[in-house]
């Protein structure tokens, strides 16, 4: 009897992490925008004060600039981005047949550079890669996120989810501990959000520049004193994919502004 009760308790404890990591119901999903003060919101809302728009404009220039051994511009293959790129970012990371795995929008841009422009890849977090990514993602502003729908992505979404609930680092915290279980609370006075990936690349006032979702994830990992995954690593791509599938239905905001 006593033994049975002990087993029941153990079973309960073992089940707890999965219960806690149930995710956020569609109607309860809220972008980081909803957690910001009126001034930061106003900065995002007004294109003439949103610093991310400068990158979008740079991206537009790069879109039509011929480059690489093929001397082709993005526009030579894709035409007017306003129609050809609408909704694309809302589906990324997407499955790449050749690689047999998901690639991020930034990786797709570099695949196009390599395969179709015969140009060198742009480094992660370089101004040009951020500008092109922001320009392409901006064409999806207000489009609802649907990334992760492709059945071929299923194992990678699962991998991302496993990483999201994995405690890590010297502080032994998982993403889910903050962004599923404690959003709306305050970490040292600053609001914790649901960690929704709706606005990337986005302008963070703390960074004083535009940055990618991968940069954000790496700083959360560093924050819990974990060894951050490298840019472009399968783990970061899987996390990004899980975050996008977890944000399903939320509208894209690129370029967002965050504190």
């Amino acid at each position: 009897m006593r033994r049975a009760r002990a087993i029941a308790v153990v079973a309960l404890l073992a089940a707890a992490p999965t219960l806690l990591a149930g995710g956020i119901a569609p109607e309860a999903r809220r972008s980081g925008y909803a957690f910001m003060g009126p001034e930061t919101r106003a900065m995002q809302d007004d294109d003439s004060s949103n610093p991310g728009m400068l990158f979008v404009l740079d991206g537009e220039t790069l879109w039509t600039r011929k480059t690489g051994g093929a001397d082709k511009a993005c526009a030579d293959c894709h035409g007017d981005a306003r129609s050809s790129m609408k909704g694309v970012a809302a589906r990324y990371p997407a499955f790449d047949k050749a690689a047999g795995r998901p690639v991020t929008l930034g990786q797709r841009i570099n695949l196009c550079r390599g395969n179709h422009q015969q140009a060198a890849p742009l480094p992660y977090e370089s101004r040009d890669l951020l500008a092109l990514s922001a320009f392409v993602a901006h064409q999806s502003r207000s489009v609802a996120i649907t990334a992760g729908d492709d059945p071929q992505l299923k194992p990678f979404v699962e991998q991302g989810r496993a990483l999201f609930v994995q405690r890590e680092g010297q502080l032994n915290l998982a993403c889910t501990n903050c962004h599923d279980d404690n959003f709306d609370k305050r970490l040292a006075g600053a609001p914790i959000t649901q960690g929704q990936p709706t606005g990337y690349p986005l302008y963070r006032l703390e960074w004083q520049t535009l940055g990618s979702l991968e940069r954000r994830l790496r700083s959360c990992m560093t924050g819990v004193r974990a060894q951050a995954y490298d840019y472009g690593s399968p783990e970061l791509v899987a996390l990004e994919l899980y975050l996008m599938s977890r944000a399903r239905g939320l509208p894209m905001e690129t370029p967002a502004v965050r504190p």
């Binding site: 930061t40 890590e168 680092g169 032994n172 970490l187 040292a188 006075g189 504190p259």
Partner: protein, 148 residues
């Protein structure tokens, strides 16, 4: 307003990411839901403990609030530390800091004097507990003074 937010964000970044120079944990004995004996063999300094709790690098007030009027940005992920000295014995407070998961296996409170069972610890922190034995004793001494 925006400036203040930048400031807070930067503080979080540095406070969470900075420095841990403590050495491998020394052995200790857990009994009756506590650690009765000081980790250093002597009692801590409550004044130093207060300063440690106030310092963001120890991470306490990222989650907790405490009766520290000079700390403008405190957390609300965890109970207010006011009155902790009434609710817990020194021995329990010591174990709570050493390994909070002994009280609640699902706790989000980090174990400050433990190096095993952790995943992907950053290169600069691997093999080191978050706090040293002396820092824990100072904080325990301070928490014991928090009586309503």
């Amino acid at each position: 307003m925006a400036r203040a937010l930048v400031h807070i964000a930067a503080l979080i970044a540095t406070s969470l990411a900075c420095c841990a120079h403590a050495e491998e944990p020394a052995p200790f004995k857990i009994a009756a839901n506590g650690i009765a004996e000081s980790l250093t063999g002597s009692s801590g300094d409550a004044v130093k403990g207060r300063a440690l709790v106030l310092a963001r690098t120890t991470t306490c007030i990222l989650c907790h609030s405490a009766p520290l009027p000079e700390a403008r940005f405190q957390g609300d992920l965890a109970p207010d530390l006011a009155g902790a000295g009434n609710r817990w014995t020194v021995s329990q407070l010591r174990l709570r800091l050493v390994d909070a998961s002994r009280f609640n296996p699902e706790t989000i409170m980090p174990s400050y004097y433990r190096t095993d069972g952790l995943v992907r610890v950053g290169r600069n922190f691997a093999g080191k507990p978050i706090l040293s034995a002396a820092e824990i004793e100072d904080i325990v001494a301070y928490l014991a003074t928090l009586r309503d």
